[in-house]
Amino acid sequence: MKNTMPSATQLPDLPELPVPAARGRAARLRSALRHYGPPALIMLIALGLWELVVRLAHIPEYLLPAPSQVAADLAADWPVLAPALLVTLWEVLLGFVIAAVAGVALAVLLHLSPVARRAVYPLLIGSQTVPIIVLAPILVIMLGYGIAPKLVIVALICFFPIVVNGIDGLRSVDPELILMMRTLDASRWAILRRVEFPAALPTIFSGLRIAATFAAIGAVFGEWSGSSQGLGYVMLAATPNLLTARIFAAIVLLTAVALVLFGVVSLLERICAPWAARRSIRD
């Protein structure tokens, strides 16, 4: 031990600031390659095999188009696909936002009121046993051919994972944190706002990410049940004409919609809950 003891208010307590190592461009590229290289490679191999099988076996395009044919159709049918993409994108985004707002609000409500939780939670679980997709035709009858039934279906599909993750996240807060806050004059609202909600954010975002992958499915089922536009409608219209490449092109775009939504949610998480994102990046 040192001879001079530190004085009361100036402890030589060395800060352990984690200095982010200045990483060069090459190192960053290597890390990106390590991350995205393997899945990209497998994707390329799969597409190559698909192309090869279709060409060698002379499979007709209406049965199974090769990736190159799908790509060609994507370009050729763009005037048909682009407006359909916009319609579906809008349904997905709007339905998702409705589900996110309603889902998080309900989660907070059920968290604050144990009575409401006991009353509503079993119904919420029970509602999941109803295949929402079969509700689509009924909703079309009730709400017409417009955007409304699609929004309802997208929102219904997205709602459940958001609510359940929201409740779990709000409930998993360290109880000692809440005791500590209570001795620091925190009201119920202050505890929710300053401790529970921020602590639940990473879990809420997990729910949002799951919901983001479901949203596009909801929009397609809504369109299949009755509509005259959107990617689902394009697929439906292409089927009797055996325009298989166009169906595949629509699927590619639907996947892109889901991926973009997933990416936006992940980005929002990093902005809203950077402390949690930092942890998950290290994994």
């Binding site: 009361a8 800060p15 209570r182 402390w275």
Partner: protein, 257 residues
């Protein structure tokens, strides 16, 4: 100052026959203790001896099964809660707040705006040797610094009674020794009544004017010793002095029996 009087009692905390059981386990039995205003009491006892429960009972977070608790003249749990601030064993800083905003949270809870809360907390940051780390996130601070932020957060609640639950239990022994010395000095400048719980006899003697020794479960007051509060000198000089060593032997003999 919230420890202002007017209730006609010189006692900050008065426990009369306090007992608490969880299920079939008796955590505390017949605790009689009184602590004068601005006194510093260390409670030492074996792990699982109901020390944390005792602090929570004083704070009004838990109600005892038997006995009466009076804190600065009030007995209702809700009112006790208004007069005590608790520093938990783990620092429990909020990772989404900066060090300064963590320390200022009690002010915000009372409705003070964030900018004003920061302005009022900032001077103490320097006094606590935390200057320059106002904007650091808890994850960027060392364990010792986090505990100091946690202590400051408790202090900023401006309560008459500070309850410290094994504040240095999670730290390595060197940091722990530094912080004990630091807290000794910091408490001299602090108006409130302090109750500190620990399982470390040396820490109890160093930081308490009185040291209450609790027994193994069910927790009872075995004896009350005088701490090394009045001892002068550095921590090392104190803990190696014959007087301190004999105090420590005394305490250990009581606990061991």
């Amino acid at each position: 100052m919230t420890s202002g009087t007017g209730d006609g009692t010189a006692l900050a905390i008065d426990l009369a026959g306090v007992g608490k059981a969880f299920g079939g386990l008796t955590a505390l039995a017949g605790i009689h203790l009184s602590m004068p205003r601005r006194s510093r009491t260390a409670i030492v006892g074996p792990s699982g001896g109901g020390k944390t429960t005792l602090l929570r009972i004083i704070a009004g977070l838990v109600e005892p099964d038997t006995g009466l608790v009076r804190v600065e003249g009030v007995t209702a749990a809700r009112q006790r809660l208004g007069r005590c601030a608790l520093m938990p064993q783990r620092d429990l800083l909020l990772p989404w707040r900066t060090a300064l905003d963590n320390a200022a949270i009690a002010l915000e809870n009372r409705g003070v705006g964030r900018a004003e809360a920061r302005r009022r907390t900032h001077p103490l940051f320097e006094r606590f040797g935390l200057a320059g780390f106002e904007r650091a996130r808890p994850a960027e601070l060392s364990g010792g610094m986090r505990q100091r932020v946690s202590f400051l957060r408790t202090l900023m609640a401006d309560k008459g009674v500070l309850l410290l639950d094994e504040p240095f239990g999670a730290l390595d022994s060197i940091t722990r020794a530094q912080l004990q010395e630091w807290l000794r000095a910091a408490m001299d400048a602090v108006p409130p009544t302090v109750v500190l719980v620990t399982h470390d006899v040396e820490e109890a003697l160093l930081l308490g004017q009185r040291v209450v020794v609790l027994s193994r479960r069910p927790g009872r007051v075995v004896t009350v010793l005088t701490g090394a509060d009045g001892f002068r000198g550095s921590r090392r000089q104190i803990v190696t002095s014959p007087e301190f060593v004999s105090l420590k032997e005394q305490a250990l003999a009581v606990i061991g029996s």
